[in-house]
């Protein structure tokens, strides 16, 4: 009962901030709302008993991604707000389409499918298992991801740096 109440509050918070993210005219504000959305999601993770992921979420999304985004926004501050409408020509259609899609999805996940839910508990040593799995059974994806990160890092530097020509 309590949990459900908490869940409802958290998810409402999350969704509302998400809505602000996509609607707010001021990009900086919506970036801040993005941060709060991330927080909400992290809270959801906690409710899902995935503390590790929650913290990782905070660390990566807020600590790195959101910060980066805000940084970029500041760098290009001049043309962030005002000047032109934040929406493009197809905004209305997009809205309608999105709503329809959302309704469809809700319908599907809520009523159509009944998922094979088990009420097994999360084992206590999940995190150590996770670590073992990351360097054991899932080592290839793990390594690939790290290589991807490195490539992205170098690529970002190469793309963004001032070309002297």
């Amino acid at each position: 009962m309590v949990l459900q109440g908490v869940f409802i509050i958290v998810s409402l918070f999350t969704l509302l901030s998400a809505l602000m993210v996509v609607t707010h005219r001021n990009l900086f504000i919506s970036a801040l709302f993005l941060v709060s959305t991330f927080f909400g999601v992290a809270a959801l993770y906690v409710l899902l008993e995935a503390e590790f992921l929650a913290v990782a979420q905070v660390l990566v999304y807020i600590g790195a991604i959101a910060t980066l985004i805000i940084f970029a926004i500041m760098l290009s501050r001049g043309m962030m707000q005002g000047r032109t409408s934040p929406y493009n020509a197809q905004a209305m259609w997009a809205g309608i389409g999105s709503v329809v899609l959302g309704l469809l999805l809700l319908y599907v996940v809520a009523f159509q499918v009944d998922w094979p839910v088990t009420d097994a508990k999360v084992p206590a040593d999940t995190i150590s298992n996770l670590g073992a799995a990351l360097v054991g059974h899932y080592v290839i994806p793990f390594e690939v991801a790290s290589v991807l990160l490195l490539a992205a890092l170098i690529g970002a530097v190469m793309i963004a740096r001032e070309k002297e020509y």
């Binding site: 493009n88 197809q90 389409g97 329809v100 899609l101 469809l104 599907v108 159509q112």
Partner: protein, 716 residues
Amino acid sequence: MNATLFLIPALPFTAFVLIVLFTNQNKKVSAGLTIGTTAVSWLLGWYFAFRAFFSPHEIASEPIRLTIPWFAGGYSVFYTGFQVDVLTAAMLFMVPFLCLLIFIYSVGYMEGDPRFSRFFAYLALFATGMLGFVMADNMLLAFIFWELMGVCSYLLIGFWSYRKPGETHIDHAQVIRARNASLKAFITTRVGDTVMLAGMVLLYAMTGSLRWSEVLSHETLHMLSEKIANVPFFGLTPWATVLAILIFWGAIGKSAQFPLHVWLPDAMEGPTPVSALIHAATMVSAGVYLIIRTFPLFHAVMEGHNGALLFVAFIGTFTAFFAATIGVAQFDIKRVLAYSTISQLGYMFAALGIGAYIAAAFHLIMHAFFKALLFLSSGSVIHAMHHGHHVAHAHGHGDHEEEDHFNPNDMRNMGGLLKKMPVTGWTFIAGGLSLSGFPLITSGFWSKDEILSDAWHGGHMVVFWTLALAAFLTAFYTWRQIFMTFFGEPRTEAAKHAHESPKSMTVPLTILAIFAIAAGWSGIPESFPGLGALVHGWFQSFMGAQAHAIGLEVEHLPFDARPLLISVVLVLSGMTAAWLLYGRRSNVTEHGYVDPLEPALGGLWVAMHNKWWVDEFYQGTVIAFAKWFSHFAYAFDDKWVIDPIVDGVGRFGRWLAVSVRRFIDEQIIDRLVNATAWVSNVVGEWARQIQTGQAQNYLLAILLTVGVLLVLGLGW
């Protein structure tokens, strides 16, 4: 340890590969590789050889084997591998040792040759071939190595044919001669090999196997001797005889026996170490080895006269005498030795022909030693002559005309070299003594005497007397050579300025000289008065084990003075004759050196000097026919058949193409193409409007698609 058998041939091969691929630039390393690997093979080879020496009967009955499955030949898996039995052991005692000595010798001989490393690569490859051949435990593998030897001999005979004229002492004519000689050797031996291949195929067809152990087993041989084949011109013959003769042809080619002997003298164009190793000691004796190896097959047919053995005996005896006659009348120091080689090989075949199995093997080994020695020291002589010639030239003696056609091999240019180069001289004399079969001390005497007494006891009088005569001639031309080369006065500036060769050449000579004299003592027959008691005919009993293993009965001959005395007398008389004709007086007249026999014998001399015109005969008949036939075939094939067909096809193609273009291309295809272009143009004009270049539009489209799919998926 048995697993290391394969190393014996494999090591020189690795040397070959390494040299050809990597170290071709570095002469020292290349020579080092070849000699080092061969040395290891030599040690291994002697390890196995001595194992055999100490326990001949075990080895003979149960050879050391290393066998692997090779490929599945139809209904039976084809095994291959190496084996060491008594015979192989005897060869393993001789072959790698000679190889090693001669390789070391070559370092000195080939010094300063631009293709030095390549020469050693070939030598290594040849060592592979010979060792593999003697150790192969089946005929196919043996044949492969046999052909490998053929290739090496081809490459090495023609070694100087890649030489640009004037690059060193090789002049243009010699280059041409080398090229022709190599081709001649290759093709002539190929004739024999082809027949042999046929024999091998038939053998496999008959017995379903090529392993010595299986082919030469008693039941197989019995089967072969029972089965009768109807051979054209010869009537009914046991298969054993047929196969034996066919295989023997291979030996004829390889060992330069009478009809196919022509290549060996020309092969002397190759560097002298090559002549010593390949064309005296090892490869040419491979033929003899092959016959010894397959001797049971020859021996299979017991009852009646045995065609195979008769054939072998005839060829051998004839060649022995025939070659000796030619040898008498040659001036080229190496050619004389070449003909003596041919005749000695003839001895061996004759011995085999009369069933003197052990004697043949014995003579094979002994001959290898002293003939290698002779060749090497003759090489040393040539070396010295040619250097002396250069010295003389440098000193201003000797004019340019002489320079151009000066032949360091020609014995007429030599004389009195014993003082100039004592080591070479004495070793050569040792070899000469052994070759001419000087009584009691030399190995040549023991081996040859063995053959002769076998012939005497077997009652093959024709063979005996022919061989005895050949022995006389042998002694004669050997000493003629020695006297012309080493005694008397130097007849040219070159001879005057000749000097001893480097250590790397003289040391092997000395070692070989010891073997050439002493090796024979291992074969003193037990029945020989006095000396026999010392040795008890060790070699006889040793090879006897092998003979016993393959089911030959070897009776120990009682001592008989008659053949011995005859041969001794003939040999001594030959030597004296040589001394009278060449040693006592120098035959220099106003027009150069004149051989005393030339006026004496007249036409016979001319015949012998021109080798009985065998080459010319072949030129006139076989080769001429081959040329004509190939021309005819070329004309038939290309001019009369192929060309018209090709042209017709071409014309038809052109006609077809034209009509296709006119009716199909222009009428149908082109219009289709244009229509396609038009359609795509129109469609594109319309469709380009879809591509707004705005990712978000596309995403919207995706959204709609997903929605629609969802709806469909929900089954509305």
